[in-house]
């Protein structure tokens, strides 16, 4: 792994453990086995590393969400998306903690955040069609999106904090609850 990658990964690890301002460049340099000066060879400043991590994580967010969806059945598709995001977070706990606690203002500027919207257009369309076709309840799109996302986050929390195993039935229930939350209650 090249030094730039090592710097990014080390910064990510330390930052979710200690917080941005509690993570000195000297420590990043030491644990990444590079000199402090090397960091400034690849990055303008500390904040730029944080922004690069942010962009890296959101890069293929849309792709992750929409991967391997079943061809039909809106509910089945939603459940697959839910699991996609859940598994991504469980498999990348650093990414999860980063977007939850570091990837927010005032650490990340609004300009940097706004750029990520692009990656979510297909997800937006999916939910928009769901509302139009009466698969989903007649609610503001933004509300549906936020609840759906929030439910995944809740589930990931319980799993990562070890409060629930989230195996088998627990996971099935978590998905079912999320679906009942947003589905069209006919």
């Amino acid at each position: 792994m090249d030094k730039k990658q090592r710097i990014i990964i080390t910064m990510l690890e330390l930052v979710v453990k200690q917080g941005v301002h509690a993570t000195p460049m000297s420590q990043v340099a030491r644990e990444a086995n590079v000199a402090v000066g090397t960091i400034y060879h690849y990055f303008e400043n500390k904040n730029q590393i944080i922004e690069e991590i942010y962009n890296m994580i959101y890069q293929d967010y849309g792709v992750v969400l929409m991967a391997n969806l079943p061809n039909e059945g809106f509910q089945k598709q939603y459940e697959a998306m839910w699991l996609n995001l859940y598994n991504y977070f469980i498999g990348n706990p650093l990414a999860f903690q980063f977007v939850e606690f570091i990837g927010v203002p005032p650490i990340i500027s609004k300009e940097v955040m706004d750029k990520t919207v692009v990656h979510f257009s297909s997800v937006r369309d999916f939910f928009l069609n769901g509302i139009k076709d009466k698969h989903l309840r007649d609610a503001p799109l933004r509300l549906v999106l936020q609840y759906a996302y929030g439910n995944v986050v809740s589930a990931v929390w319980l799993k990562t904090k070890g409060e629930l195993d989230m195996e088998g039935d627990d996971l099935k229930t978590a998905i079912a609850m999320s679906w009942d939350c947003i589905k069209n209650q006919r």
Copy 2:
């Protein structure tokens, strides 16, 4: 308002705006109109102020949640609790942002967090009975609690970020979605 209160309030304001480590004691002293030394007369160190804020916010959490509940009707009671927490967060945006971003590890230690569990016993019992009496779905208590809480947080987010007005219908829908999420689907 006495100086100790002023120090706490000022620290709370600055900390949700800038983050803990980006908020120097000198600034707290200046904006609270006290000397730096005075802060250390009332508090052992910076972290103790943060912990005091944390305890202050969670102190009457249980009380806020259970206030003015209707006498009967499980669903009505839940909706009242939901609104209680929602209104508390909307009315105290500083408290909301604090518990979401500052009131978590590694800033707040696990010992300090664990002490707050006491305030939630009545809430726990409410949900526990809801599951037993089949008002709520047959799911792990922790899962129901986390989803219910997460839904309020999602709604508060949308409101505070100005993405939804959350007046009238929006709010009704948000509560309905949350209820459909946890209710017993017979």
